[in-house]
Symmetry: C2
Subunit: 185 residues, 2 copies
DNA sequence: GTCTATAGACTGATAGAC
DNA sequence: GTCTATCAGTCTATAGAC
């Protein structure tokens, strides 16, 4: 029987992202995804050749955004002393995490994912690249600061998921910018 | 046939923690854990009644430490202006994460875990409780700062796992302490 | 495009011999 | 304590009807 909606593929992705983010990829079966939108597992296989292919298509948009951000910033590292410039990059990273927060959740929660053949090549150290651009330095202490700042920012969109994220934005970015300042407090 | 080692239970826990941290709990089977230490799945079941029981015993020590820290700090909130006091708490949290970094990894990577009946009651908002003690405030902005600081610190013991963590400690704690300072940078 | 039916592998867990 | 053997259930994935 034909279905009420036109875009079954989009429906599959939406249901899958929700379940993957909530329970993890391994803990979610294709049967569950299919049943959530009222089709059978076999019908799902008509649209996606495998679970890996589905996961790959889900995480792709975020990787594309990260690559764009990396490309744009590459070659012109941020001066750590220029607070406005640092803040601008942190803000963009926050917005990116916010837009893709369900994907962030999936990636954080599924380490085995990045080892899968379909997905690993697309990861390319995603956040590490932004780290590097942001601190523009190989100094290990600078890298640590970047991990605290961006890791912390990334965590907020997950931890405060149900809350008013517009209110979280300001303090989160402030804290991250401060964490990035070199030297002892 | 009796085995070379005395403490099979400890061997099981060690192998399980390694595999759970690496791939996630759902993606690791009891057969894999058993075979890694040269016994069968049935032998493993002699020592642990279920997968949940095994997971529970693995995460217990960290929860116990968090409860101790919470108990000790409870009732005497840290003055956000007292930098030395703030630093002391952040340092203790860092050490706790470092000691339990494989468990941290397991918990981060397995959201579904905290919903399991055996484990949920022991979680009791672990990090949230430390957050609360640390900022000693219900102000949402303070809570956000605490999440950035402690989330960032927690991330470093995972991200820099293979590196020299003694060198990571200083910059990580500095960055977290700075992130906790109120107001705009 | 969606279905039913099924293959084949693996899972967590148990029974009972040694 | 560890084994072999097995259960019932689930999984990914496919074949073929409509």
């Amino acid at each position: 029987m034909p279905r009420a909606t036109v875009d079954t593929r989009a429906e599959i992705r939406a249901a899958a992202l929700e379940l993957f983010a909530e329970r993890g990829v391994e803990a979610t079966s294709l049967r569950e995804i299919a049943e959530r939108i009222g089709i059978t597992k076999a019908a799902l296989y008509y649209h996606y050749a495998s679970k890996d292919a589905l996961v790959g298509e889900l995480v792709d948009p975020m990787f594309a955004e990260l690559r764009e951000l990396g490309d744009e910033l590459e070659g012109r590292p941020v001066d750590a002393g220029d607070e406005a410039a640092v803040r601008a990059v942190v803000e963009r990273f926050w917005e990116l995490c916010l837009r893709n927060r369900e994907v962030v959740r999936v990636l954080i929660h599924n380490p085995a994912l990045i080892a899968r053949a379909e997905i690993a090549p697309r990861m390319l150290h995603w956040r590490e690249r932004v780290d590097a651009v942001l601190v523009g330095s190989d100094d290990p202490a600078d890298r640590v600061r970047a991990v605290v700042a961006l890791g912390g920012v990334q965590d907020t969109v997950i931890v405060f998921e149900g809350d008013d994220l517009a209110a979280v934005r300001g303090p989160a970015i402030d804290a991250a910018v401060r964490a990035l300042q070199p030297g002892r407090p």
